[in-house]
């Protein structure tokens, strides 16, 4: 697992391909929101949370698709399947690499969005940090699984969001509430059921992905 993580991050360090496109795309999404939704109406921290996660959702879809396609193009997918390691570990390694990228992007995008949209309150809090970590973990787990499932089809770019968006529905509902709470400094305990839900989502998708990757990697 750590080897896969190191390898994926090494590729990223050399090329910077995924993170830079993630960030640029996120910035463009902010512009799109500003043009289409009237910037004056976007000051509310609740809206910022929603827009942040919508942005991350769309950008992550492209990044995750990339991470599997890179393997397939290089013929490394088969090599991974044949490697004498637990295939569940391949999944966890991929998720970890995607998580690092997505969390990095989230941390960079959030303040930029807050500044550009002129959000009134932005309190860095434990709740905010926890929301970002739990949210990106779930997104990375479901997205990595979805990307692998979509990768063998003709229209994988289209199929990836079609497969992952409905699965991510519970995560999105929860993470937007906790992030909005975190932005305005709501006490952590007030949102505990939501955080438990986020944690369960992450756990379910990590475990299921880990267990089923045996079937997914077996081309």
């Amino acid at each position: 697992m750590w080897v896969i993580l190191r390898k994926d991050l090494a590729i990223e360090r050399r090329t910077g391909e995924i993170l830079s496109s993630l960030l640029l795309l996120a910035l463009l999404m902010v512009l799109v929101f500003a043009f289409t939704l009237e910037p004056e109406r976007l000051r509310d921290p609740g809206l910022l949370a929603g827009l942040l996660w919508a942005t991350l959702l769309f950008s992550s879809t492209l990044a995750f698709g990339r991470s599997v396609v890179l393997e397939r193009e290089a013929g490394a997918w088969t090599a991974l399947a044949m490697a004498p390691i637990d295939r569940g570990a391949v999944f966890l390694g991929k998720v970890a690499a995607n998580l690092v990228l997505l969390l990095g992007a989230a941390i960079l995008v959030l303040p930029v969005m807050a500044v550009l949209l002129g959000t009134r309150a932005l309190v860095p809090s434990a709740l905010l940090g926890l929301s970002l970590v739990l949210g990106t973990t779930g997104m990375a787990a479901a997205g990595t699984l979805g990307a692998a499932l979509a990768s063998r089809t003709r229209a994988r770019e289209v199929l990836l969001p079609i497969v992952t968006f409905p699965l991510l529905a519970p995560l999105l509902i929860a993470v937007v509430r906790t992030t909005a709470g975190g932005l305005v400094g709501t006490p952590l305990v007030a949102l505990r059921p939501w955080l438990v839900l986020l944690g369960s989502f992450d756990l379910v998708f990590l475990v299921v992905g880990w267990l089923t990757f045996d079937h997914v990697l077996e081309d």
């Binding site: 699984l145 063998r152 089809t153 409905p166 995560l171 509902i173 929860a174 089923t212």
Partner: protein, 238 residues
């Protein structure tokens, strides 16, 4: 590649091709007759309430169809039987049809009773996301073709999809927890007021369950035939 058995998939089977269709037709005619002719109109809601006899069953069976898909997917992953995959696919397709019908019959009732076509009530939200999961599952199959790898991928998605549902239910409950569910509960209570209504509900349930089973069986036969055709054309080409 196909699992050709001694009996061709096109051979007539008295259960599938005679009794099941006959029973479905009889139950459906009886249900329609009861719903539109016999049963009295509900006092408060009037004629439009009659849609409920179909709507409720459609919703439960759409849900059940998903569980069947997930169960069959697990069986396929474990044993690799082609029949399990066919069942998963057929149940997902009929499930999508039923979910679509739920989403059509619901607003038809909601517009006169609630005054709006749609609201983000927990059950409504749940149904629409369920519809999207079904649709994505079938889209994966459609775009992936009948490659064995895709069948396995679809099975993984079938399992993941059903595991997502409890999380979804909790999320939506928390999200919309403040909304009253009275409107939904009310029509069930009122529906039981007259014994005729209960009987109608039961007959409609039987009719829709038989229809579900018949469609699933037909769909499975269809995909078996499809496999045979492919195997034969491969033979001819060779």
């Amino acid at each position: 590649m196909s699992s050709r058995t001694d009996r061709p998939a096109g051979a007539l089977n008295p259960w599938r091709d005679l009794w099941l269709p006959a029973a479905t037709t009889a139950a459906m005619v009886a249900a329609l007759w009861l719903v539109f002719v016999v049963v009295p109109s509900e006092r408060v809601q009037g004629t439009v309430q009659r849609i409920f006899y179909f709507h409720v069953h459609l919703a439960w069976m759409a849900f059940g169809g998903f569980v069947v898909t997930a169960g069959a997917s697990v069986a396929y992953l474990a044993r690799g039987q082609r029949a399990a995959d066919r069942l998963a696919e057929a149940s997902a397709e009929v499930g999508l049809l039923y979910t679509t019908l739920v989403l059509v019959t619901g607003p038809l009732w909601a517009r006169p009773i609630w005054g709006v076509w749609w609201t983000w009530d927990p059950r409504l939200t749940m149904t629409v996301v369920l519809w999207a999961i079904y649709a994505s599952y079938l889209m994966l199959r459609r775009l992936g073709g009948r490659d064995e790898v895709i069948l396995r991928y679809a099975a993984v998605l079938g399992v993941v999809g059903v595991l997502d549902i409890p999380l979804l239910i909790i999320a939506i409950r928390l999200w919309r927890g403040v909304h009253p569910a009275v409107l939904l509960a009310k029509d069930a209570d009122a529906g039981l007021a007259n014994p005729m209504m209960v009987q109608t509900l039961i007959v409609a349930g039987v009719a829709l369950a038989l229809l579900f089973a018949w469609l699933v069986v037909l769909r499975m036969q269809f995909s078996a035939l499809d496999d045979e055709v492919e195997a034969l054309s491969a033979e001819v080409a060779a």
